[in-house]
């Protein structure tokens, strides 16, 4: 997993809990890299899960909630650092559709060895989008947060239903129903 996710996760934690708390939590969690991450590096996903669990234990917030919060945080980060991806997009659906079709294409150009999740989209009706997230990583809530933040970013409101895709491991379907814009 790209180092930038780790760096931003710790940044969010610092923002929420303060540096001292982050220092303490990291020291306690048994991390292979000693909690030292660089945005250009690559680290195993398990460490990310460990960090989330450690902060969950520390704060009493569920790991799922923390992942969702982190999804919001990352959407802000993307908007700030990669505004080009948001240009020419007029709705959250267009943005979500672009993840597989545009953004990951660009990511692979820079990092040919990146293991990217798949996001298949399907507009099932007026204001309805089905997004199937396929990844061996347990980051469903993180994706949930990202989708929520994306809807907000385009000044829309939506109901998001999550269900495990039947007969398919490591796959989750998000049903997004736009309720207002």
């Amino acid at each position: 997993m790209k180092g930038v996710v780790f760096v931003e996760l710790l940044a969010m934690a610092e923002d929420a809990f303060g540096e001292d708390v982050v220092d303490t939590v990291i020291d306690k969690a048994d991390l292979a890299h000693g909690g030292a991450y660089t945005a250009v590096g690559n680290y195993p996903c398990e460490e990310l899960v460990k960090i989330v669990d450690a902060f969950s234990a520390h704060s009493g917030l569920s790991p799922e909630l923390l992942q969702r919060k982190f999804g919001h945080w990352m959407m802000g980060f993307f908007g700030q650092h990669y505004p080009a991806f948001f240009e020419n997009k007029s709705s959250s659906f267009e943005m979500l559709e672009a993840v597989d079709q545009e953004i990951h294409v660009e990511v692979l150009k820079l990092y040919p060895d990146a293991e990217l999740p798949r996001f298949e989209t399907d507009r099932t009706g007026e204001g309805q989008l089905e997004m199937v997230y396929s990844s061996p990583r347990p980051l469903v809530s993180f994706c949930h947060g990202l989708i929520e933040a994306c809807v907000e970013r385009f000044d829309e409101t939506a109901e998001i239903a999550i269900e495990t895709t039947p007969a398919q491991n490591n796959s989750t379907t998000f049903r997004i129903d736009i309720t207002g814009r």
């Binding site: 303060g18 540096e19 001292d20 220092d23 990291i26 020291d27 890299h33 000693g34 909690g35 030292a36 991450y37 660089t38 945005a39 250009v40 590096g41």
Partner: protein, 575 residues
């Protein structure tokens, strides 16, 4: 928060950041190295690619050069071979003709007929292949000369009639007055197309009229000539028409079992016509007949004379321009002398005769003549040599136009002529009209004579039947019928004398001398239109070197027979 109380970060945070930076730097270094190596591979790859492209390009160029050279060599080989075959083939066909003329046994005559048909077919193939290879080699060039389509059609039909059973009565032509008398074009190529279409019409039909029609309509270039050749033969299905003008295709012909040719005739015709910006095509219905047509935009050099009067006025103008001109005629042959001097006299020209090239050089002086007419083959000094000496001896502006008269193969003479500085080449047989036109043009008159549509003769002397029509017309334009008869009489005497000389030389084995005499005989018989004699003499000229004793006797007998025929016709003409 800790940071608000103390600006310093914790030791563990510092260590973490240091470790992260170190890792980032290591990663960066690794990436730089990777980038460098990738770039290096890319350069190598592009270098190899460039080298490969260069190699391939040069390989391709070599292959192309080889292919072109091979193709050129093949074209040259075919052209040379075809040309080489033509000469002995001419001899062969001539011999067959002679044998056929003498043979009385019907069975043998039939065999000879087959031999002749096959020989003619072979000749056609060789000619087609030669033309085709010239076209393929891009060596096919169009001449731009004056074309008299009426004379041309007359000639083509006369030849076709001779080689087609019942030809005389089957061939008909009608030429509309809209067709310009003279236009610019390549007479040889137009003749070839006409001959091909007429010969096809004959080969693909056993009976019925073959009609040749020509007319013209206005066109931005001058006129659009349209010629149609209609037969009542086996016809061509729509399916077959598609491929008709493609290379090496032909319609299966049930009419004859003999060799049919290469299937190149129409392809060549198409290339010729399209090469001259024209169109060629066919309408046909199986079992009813075919009409082949072509259209050719032509530049009109002379418009149709609306009335006879105009023509006469023009003729008078031309006469006035030619009249009184001083002309030196270098010609050794007695018949040609007589004929050309008569022509010149008719034009009211002051002609002076030189018996050969040497005499011509002696007689020539600047300002003495307005024009020189020079035969090529003459004893002591030939016309080309004489021209060269005259050109070398006097400044160019003091030399009048020099016109060469020849019965030789044209291309070679044209080349030689250009080298020695000859202004114009006239090919024998030369008609009165040709000569007058040439003289008037070379003298700068730049006017055009009138051209008659073929003249109808009332009761004609018997001898005229044996003479070629266009040539006879030329003769009658300048002489009375009696004068023509007198000329033929003189020709017969001269031809006998020449034939005796040829016989003597052949028997002595002096083939070269015999060939030269045969050439002279060909020239003078061509001049008066005795085409039978001319043809045989031409064959003799070509084949003198390799004839055996038996064949010699046969050719001489045949020639003698032809001359006798003229003689007999003369006696009945003068009675």
């Amino acid at each position: 928060m800790a940071s608000e109380q103390d600006d310093r970060v914790s030791r563990s945070r510092y260590e973490r950041e240091k470790a992260a930076r170190k890792e980032a730097e290591a990663l960066l270094e690794g990436k730089s190295r990777e980038l460098f190596l990738a770039n290096q591979r890319l350069s190598e790859h592009s270098e190899i690619l460039e080298r490969t492209v260069t190699e391939r390009t040069s390989e391709l160029r070599i292959a192309l050069d080889k292919a072109e050279a091979a193709s050129a060599m093949r074209a040259r080989f075919i052209a040379t071979m075809s040309h080489e075959i033509r000469t002995p083939l001419g001899g062969l066909l001539g011999m067959i003709d002679l044998m056929y003329g003498d043979e009385t046994d019907p069975a043998k005559r039939e065999l000879l007929e087959y031999a002749k048909t096959s020989g003619e077919a072979l000749k056609r193939i060789v000619n087609d292949v030669l033309d085709f290879s010239k076209m393929e080699a891009g060596a096919f060039q169009f001449e731009n000369e004056k074309v008299d389509i009426r004379a041309l059609i007359g000639g083509v039909l006369a030849l076709a009639a001779a080689s087609m059973p019942g030809g005389e009565s089957r061939l008909r032509s009608s030429i509309s007055p809209t067709v310009p008398p003279i236009f610019a074009g390549d007479a040889t190529r137009i003749r070839q197309v006409l001959a091909n279409l007429v010969s096809n019409a004959g080969r693909y039909s056993t009976e019925g009229q073959i009609e040749l029609r020509a007319f013209a309509s206005p066109h931005e270039k001058g006129a659009l000539l349209r010629v149609e050749i209609e037969d009542q033969g086996i016809g061509i299905s729509a399916e077959q028409q598609k491929d008709l003008f493609k290379d090496f295709t032909q319609v299966p012909n049930k009419l004859t079992s003999a060799a049919q040719g290469t299937g190149l005739g129409l392809a060549i015709s198409r290339r010729i016509i399209e090469g001259a910006d024209g169109k060629i095509g066919v309408f046909s219905e199986p079992g009813v007949g075919s009409t082949f047509w072509f259209e050719l935009p032509v530049e009109v050099l002379e418009t149709t004379q609306p009335s006879k009067n105009n023509g006469k006025t023009k003729l008078r103008e031309v006469k006035a321009q030619v009249e009184g001109a001083r002309i030196l005629l270098a010609e050794d042959n007695k018949i040609n002398q007589k004929l050309l001097l008569t022509f010149l006299k008719r034009m009211n020209v002051n002609a002076e005769l030189a018996e050969n090239g040497r005499v011509a050089v002696e007689k020539f002086a600047p300002g003495k003549y307005d024009l020189v007419l020079m035969d090529v083959a003459m004893p002591e000094m030939d016309g080309l040599e004489a021209t060269r000496i005259i050109r070398d001896s006097w400044p160019a502006e003091k030399i009048p136009p020099i016109v060469v008269l020849t019965a030789h193969v044209l291309d070679a003479i044209h080349e030689d002529s250009a080298r020695v500085g000859i202004d114009r080449v006239l090919s024998k047989p030369i008609t009165f009209g040709d000569l007058r036109d040439a003289i008037s043009e070379e003298l700068g008159a730049h006017d055009t004579p009138d051209h008659h549509t073929p003249r109808q003769f009332g009761s004609r002397p018997a001898i005229f039947v044996h003479l070629s029509n266009p040539i006879l017309e030329g003769l009658i334009e300048s002489m009375s019928e009696n004068e023509v008869i007198a000329l033929v009489e003189e020709f017969v005497i001269d031809a006998r004398r020449l034939l005796a000389a040829i016989t003597a030389n052949l028997r002595r084995g002096e083939a070269e001398a015999a060939a030269a005499e045969a050439h002279a005989l060909k020239g003078m018989s061509g001049l008066i239109g005795a085409l039978g004699v001319s043809e045989l003499a031409g064959q003799l000229e070509q084949s003198a070197a390799y004839l055996d004793a038996d064949s010699i006797e046969e050719v001489i007998d045949a020639l003698s027979g032809q001359i006798d025929k003229l003689d007999r016709a003369l006696s009945s003409s003068t009675e």
